[in-house]
């Protein structure tokens, strides 16, 4: 029962081969097998969003995917945002707008927002609010997170490019 499986995962552009139990979730594979502990894990059943990563460019819950299901897919985690150790513009915007306090929800919020802005660069405040509602934050009250994402969106996609 539960024979280990070999999977090939592409995480932040690097291919990894892992031997995992089928019940290993993607978030546990990232954290325990690949030691990429930037991705957090909270509820383990899809409601909190702490584990949000990008799968093929779209935000997804890493606790609601088995590592074996991620074979052949491109995973991006929060570590991909600052490969050279410098904060990217979205991370800097979270700092500037007080978009975090304890930081537990932050990796998930960042990847959620990166996924949103990649798909809808001109997203307005209402859209940002609706998407940010996917993830729980116990500290900030959300306003400052929405501010941070909105400011980054405006900087990346100036007014004249918005339709």
């Amino acid at each position: 029962m539960s024979e280990r499986q070999l999977v090939t995962l592409t995480v932040n552009g690097v291919e990894h081969e892992l031997l995992v139990e089928p019940r290993r979730t993607l978030v546990d594979a990232l954290r325990h097998d690949l030691r990429l502990t930037g991705t957090h894990v909270g509820c383990e059943h899809g409601v909190c969003g702490a584990c949000t990563v990008l799968v093929d460019g779209l935000p997804a819950r890493a606790c609601l995917m088995f590592a074996v299901q991620a074979e052949g897919r491109e995973i991006s985690t929060v570590e991909s945002l600052s490969p050279d150790g410098r904060l990217n513009d979205l991370q800097q915007s979270f700092v500037d707008h007080h978009g975090l306090q304890c930081g537990f929800c932050t990796p998930g919020m960042l990847m959620l927002a990166e996924g949103l802005l990649a798909e809808r660069p001109a997203a307005g405040r209402e859209e940002i609010r609706e998407v940010v509602a996917a993830n729980l934050c116990r500290c900030t009250g959300y306003q400052s997170i929405v501010d941070a994402v909105e400011a980054c969106a405006r900087a990346r996609c100036p007014q004249e490019e918005r339709s």
Partner: protein, 309 residues
């Protein structure tokens, strides 16, 4: 919690998946997007011995329109429907993309599938309501080939469908266009499953209302149609004032016809008053969608108007 151990098999084709289900027997389960099955496994409400992963079957992914209507492959994600730009889909079934934002949250919709929702058979799932509203046909494939199940024969009760354990749901088909339809619902927080949901589709011909369909979630073990209320959907005009009266009467009839239960989310009386509010709202939104289609403009419903009853 962590799911209990299981063996994992990746299907390479529909035939391969059906072979695996036959070989592994009743303890095996299909996994598509995993957005319902994985939480159930994490809570250990489900402990399948084997998972047959159909997630890689590209042949079951996508939407297309032909003479038989709109076909949606079982593995098409909620997000693919939400972002669909095919003019034939948007002209015939604008209610489908427009309803997707009610399903959980974006990161759920990117993995969760249309077929998974329907096969799971949650009475509150938006896809169960939409298929019920629009007389969809559910296409199942088993060892003996394909069979088509009308939605009226598909949802049998609490999380129970007509799908057999060794069958795959391969396609959801909407035979007839429904350009004048809307879905609305009420939940305590956006993204939660609804307490009550309502959907309305109107038959508008030459400026008059000639009939329509009303479907409700949250009032029974499976989504229901309300013929008593549908019978009232006639009017000689599409003027907003007159239609408002028609929808109010239909909403009252719907509230009188249902027999919801009490639970921690709301009493039977509360649910009936939600039915009244939501049927009326969905009716108005469906007729607004209709005018927008007639004017060849996209249907604009103010974002804030969607949430509160």
């Amino acid at each position: 919690m962590k799911p209990a151990p299981f063996d994992y098999r990746r299907a390479r084709s529909v035939a391969d998946a059906l072979g695996l289900l036959a070989e592994l027997g009743g303890e095996a389960k299909v996994i598509a997007g995993g957005q319902s099955l994985m939480p159930m496994m994490a809570f250990r409400l489900a402990r399948p011995s084997h998972l047959v992963d159909i997630g890689g079957l590209g042949e079951l992914r996508g939407l297309w329109v032909d003479d038989d209507g709109l076909h949606i492959g079982a593995l098409t994600t909620h997000h693919q429907v939400e972002t669909c730009t095919d003019p034939a889909v948007l002209a015939g079934w604008p209610v489908l993309p427009a309803s997707m934002s009610w399903i959980g949250h974006l990161p759920i919709r990117t993995l969760g599938t249309v077929g998974g929702s329907v096969a799971h058979g949650d009475a509150l799932a938006e896809w169960c309501l939409l298929t019920t509203l629009l007389d969809a046909v559910l296409v199942a494939e088993g060892a003996d080939g394909r069979r088509e199940i009308p939605v009226a024969d598909f949802f049998l009760g609490f999380f129970t469908t007509a799908l057999l354990p060794d069958e795959l749901l391969v396609e959801v088909r909407f035979p007839a266009p429904a350009p004048h339809a809307a879905l609305t619902e009420y939940a305590e927080r956006h993204g939660d499953y609804a307490i009550v949901s309502a959907a309305v589709s109107l038959d508008l011909v030459d400026g008059s209302l000639r009939g329509g369909r009303i479907a409700l979630g949250g009032v029974a073990d499976a989504p229901v149609r309300v013929p008593e209320a549908e019978a009232l959907l006639t009017a000689g005009t599409t003027h907003p004032d007159e239609l408002g009266g028609v929808f109010a009467a239909a909403a009252d009839a719907a509230a009188a016809a249902v027999d919801p239960g009490d639970d921690q989310h709301g009493s039977a009386d509360y649910r009936r008053s939600l039915v009244r509010t939501l049927v009326q709202r969905a009716g108005v939104q469906a007729s607004v969608a209709a005018r927008a289609v007639d004017d060849d403009r996209p249907a604009a419903v103010p974002a804030g108007a969607r949430r509160r009853p």
